[in-house]
């Protein structure tokens, strides 16, 4: 089976290479008769990738430890659900998953009306780029990071899945990210193809749905990662600006910039070149994320270890950027008289451009910050790194500005000036009023206060537009966008409060003793012990009350899983839309002394609520490409 799966990947790579060459030849000779053959070749390659993925899945299901990959990430005690999802627990498997999703996205896109609307040369160029990307991934999978290595001699028992990953949040976090990463391949290839061939219609229209879907998955993946970090890692936060987190944020930032500038192009035919560049850069940053995580260039708390893919990934990124530059030059003559100028700054396009700047600036900060230990070696003998305070100081004001843009942008016109004076009054009023109220509630830090006021204004604007303007309700695209922005406003509010106003306290308690945290009284009752074959649990039982009224019981746990020396913390919370109480059991002794870390997180759940809205609302915005607008 190992050999079959491996050769299926090898065959897929050959098919992709052959297809890319055929597409190139077709373009070169202006002879477009082989398109159907190329499409069939891609289908066949996809089938081969599906076959090898199926073999890996079956091996996981049967816990066939003759596969090195299966033995590395599962054992016989692991529940079936986690065994199957160990597919993407390691590097080789996650790259295979990524490849699988790219291939399936390619198949779906080839069936869509958007693909059918493209001219024949553009379709050839599209396949040339797309199949090259696929061939690259298959090269990685058949070379440095092969998921189908055979264990010789076979091992009797696997090493088991890292307990930190045994959480639904972590199970769905990686595949969502990969769905997003993979999805962004299509806009990038379309952008290059359309520009190279001087496609009449904007590629942004053809790529619209894939872009939105990829954005949804990427957003959901990042959100779930934050939630997992909060619920599973037990340090009381959801975002630590660790290189691994930054790696997924950079594509999101660039992708968000692209999503918005592509709206400008679809509506006003401006920014065509910018969009080609942004679409491709988004794709490159997806690879960059993997590079940062896998290559070991930066020291992270949870480095993933060098897997031999760093070099190829770096080369591929550089290659893609060179291709982008070449294509931009080659295609430019087609577009000299087609691109319309951008409207003034005080207009919807103007604000969308500012948003793109903000997003690009943010991604530059995150990129530079992550690589700072490497960059600083240029002038400093010892590497200099940046702490979370750096990112918070630089990024949070920019995010606050983004929320302010969201509050005022819907009230501007597409050409120039304010479209809705009354709405502007509502937004400004909400901004000032919200600011005063939040200040009264204790939000005194300038950036947090500005962000909070901006998010109140954004909510007011969305509400106002929704009530007053029929187009916001009737047109599906606008409805989705307004709901996403409402979600963003909620997230901003949650971050503005839960970030700076989190209360943290650590204490060592004996049973019967109490501690006070942010107005809550916590009484440590007892330490319960529980043991079964897979895990040993110690659980602290803590009664919580506020002003004499019982609020609930916290039961943070420490678990020691069979096969792992270290204990893992299971967080316990008392969920609330206001102050959420959060406790971790850090240590316990035989005399039942418990080291506890307790925090009060104000409004934190609004981040998850707003974030969920941001992931669901864009589905309203998906729509079929209208058949040939001209």
């Amino acid at each position: 089976m190992h050999v079959t799966a491996y050769f299926a990947l090898l065959a897929a790579m050959m098919l992709c290479l052959a297809g890319a060459v055929a597409a190139l030849a077709g373009l070169w000779q202006r002879e477009y008769g082989r398109l159907a053959l190329i499409e069939k070749g891609h289908l066949l390659a996809t089938a081969a990738v599906v076959l090898s993925s199926a073999i890996l899945t079956v091996a996981l299901w049967r816990r066939d430890f003759s596969f090195v990959y299966v033995a590395e990430y599962t054992d016989t005690l692991l529940p079936l659900f986690y065994t199957l999802t160990a597919f993407w627990a390691g590097q080789a498997g996650s790259l295979l998953f990524w490849m699988l999703v790219i291939a399936l996205c390619g198949v779906c896109f080839a069936l869509s009306p958007a693909y059918k609307s493209l001219s024949l040369p553009t379709r050839h160029a599209y396949w040339m780029f797309f199949l090259t990307v696929e061939a690259f991934f298959l090269l990685l999978l058949t070379g440095p990071t092969n998921p189908f290595l055979e264990a010789v001699p076979p091992v009797p028992e696997g090493r088991g899945l890292n307990p930190l990953l045994r959480n639904p949040g972590m199970i769905f976090h990686p595949p969502l990210l990969f769905l997003g990463y993979a999805g962004f391949t299509i806009p990038a290839c379309l952008a290059l193809a359309a520009w190279l061939c001087g496609e009449r219609a904007s590629f942004a229209a053809a790529a619209r749905n894939t872009t939105i879907l990829s954005w949804i998955f990427l957003t959901a993946g990042i959100l779930l990662g934050g939630w997992w970090s909060y619920m599973e890692l037990g340090w009381g936060g959801y975002w630590a600006w660790d290189p691994v987190e930054n790696a997924s944020l950079i594509p999101w930032l660039v992708g968000t910039a692209f999503l918005h500038t592509s709206i400008v192009e679809r509506r006003t035919k401006a920014l065509a070149k910018t969009n080609v560049a942004l679409a491709v850069v988004t794709f490159v940053t997806c690879i960059l994320g993997t590079y940062l995580v896998r290559s070991g260039v930066v020291e992270s708390l949870h480095a993933f270890g060098e897997g031999g893919v760093g070099g190829p990934l770096l080369l591929f990124m550089l290659f893609t950027l060179v291709v982008l530059a070449a294509v931009l030059v080659a295609g430019a003559p087609y577009f000299t008289d087609r691109v319309k100028p951008l409207a003034g700054l005080m207009s919807v396009p103007g604000f969308l451009v500012i948003l793109a700047w903000l997003m690009l600036a943010l991604s530059a900060v995150v990129f530079l910050g992550t690589l700072w230990p490497v960059i600083s070696k240029l002038w400093s003998a010892n590497p200099v790194g940046l702490d979370a305070g750096f990112y918070n100081r630089v990024c949070l004001p920019l995010f606050a500005l983004v929320t302010a843009l969201v509050a005022f942008c819907p009230l501007l016109s597409w050409s120039e000036g304010v479209r809705d004076k009354a709405g502007l009054g509502v937004a400004v009023g909400a901004f000032v009023g919200g600011g005063v109220v939040l200040y009264g509630l204790g939000l005194h830090l300038p950036v947090a206060l500005f962000a909070g006021a901006a998010s109140v204004a954004a909510m007011a604007t969305v509400g106002y537009v929704f009530l007053r303007q029929r187009h916001a309700r009737s047109r599906a695209g606008a409805l989705g966008a307004y709901c996403v922005h409402l979600g963003l406003a909620l997230v901003t509010l949650g971050v503005a409060f839960s970030g700076p106003y989190q209360i943290n306290q650590e204490a060592v308690l004996m049973p019967g003793r109490t501690m006070e945290v942010g107005g809550f009284t916590l009484t440590y009752k007892d330490l319960e012990l529980e043991q079964n074959k897979a895990v040993a649990i110690s659980r602290a039982v803590i009664d919580v009350s506020k002003n004499g009224q019982p609020v609930g019981v916290l039961t943070p746990e420490r678990r020691i899983y069979t096969g792992f020396e270290q204990p893992f913390a299971e967080v316990s919370t008392i969920p609330s839309l206001g102050d959420e109480l959060y406790a971790t059991l850090i240590n316990s002794t035989e005399k039942k002394a418990a080291s506890l870390k307790v925090s009060v997180n104000p409004l934190i759940n609004w981040i998850w609520i707003g974030g969920t809205l941001m992931c669901l609302a864009p589905f309203f915005s998906l729509r079929r490409l209208r058949a040939k607008a001209e």
């Binding site: 993933f304 270890g305 060098e306 200099v384 630089v394 850090i586 080291s595």
Partner: protein, 129 residues
């Protein structure tokens, strides 16, 4: 119009970046590198090293621990670390840790306000420095 806005934007952005780079940087060092630097430059640093077998001093019922941190490669290079706070229970002699804080000029010991043990994740196939 766009140019003015861009200039304003870049100005503000540059200021933020500059102030952030001024105040929020710290050295990322191995123990041997830290020992090679004058202590007064080490008011803010993040050290990587391994916890020594000897010299571990941990009070029974209070928070915190004092220990000797050894360089990952050169076992003769060591620094004393005083940490106040909840000690993670993955902490024990022989594990790789990351400490954040600064050198106390009076005692020469490293006063840490953060102590992290490196994640022993399965993702990490080999121990890199």
């Amino acid at each position: 119009m766009y140019l003015v806005a861009l200039a304003l934007f870049l100005g503000g952005f540059g200021y933020l970046l500059y102030s952030g780079l001024g105040e929020n940087t710290s050295y990322f060092l191995n123990v041997s590198e830290a020992l090679a630097m004058p202590p007064k430059e080490l008011s803010k640093a993040r050290l990587f090293g391994t916890v020594a077998e000897n010299g571990l001093n941990r009070p029974e019922d209070a928070l915190g621990v004092s220990f000797t941190l050894i360089d990952k490669d050169q076992a003769n290079k060591t620094i004393r670390v005083d940490f106040r706070g909840v000690v993670p229970d993955t902490f024990k002699p022989g594990v790789e840790v990351i400490v954040e804080g600064g050198v106390n000029p009076a005692s020469g010991a490293f006063a840490a306000n953060t102590l992290m043990t490196k994640c022993p994740s399965k993702y990490q196939k080999e121990n890199r420095g």
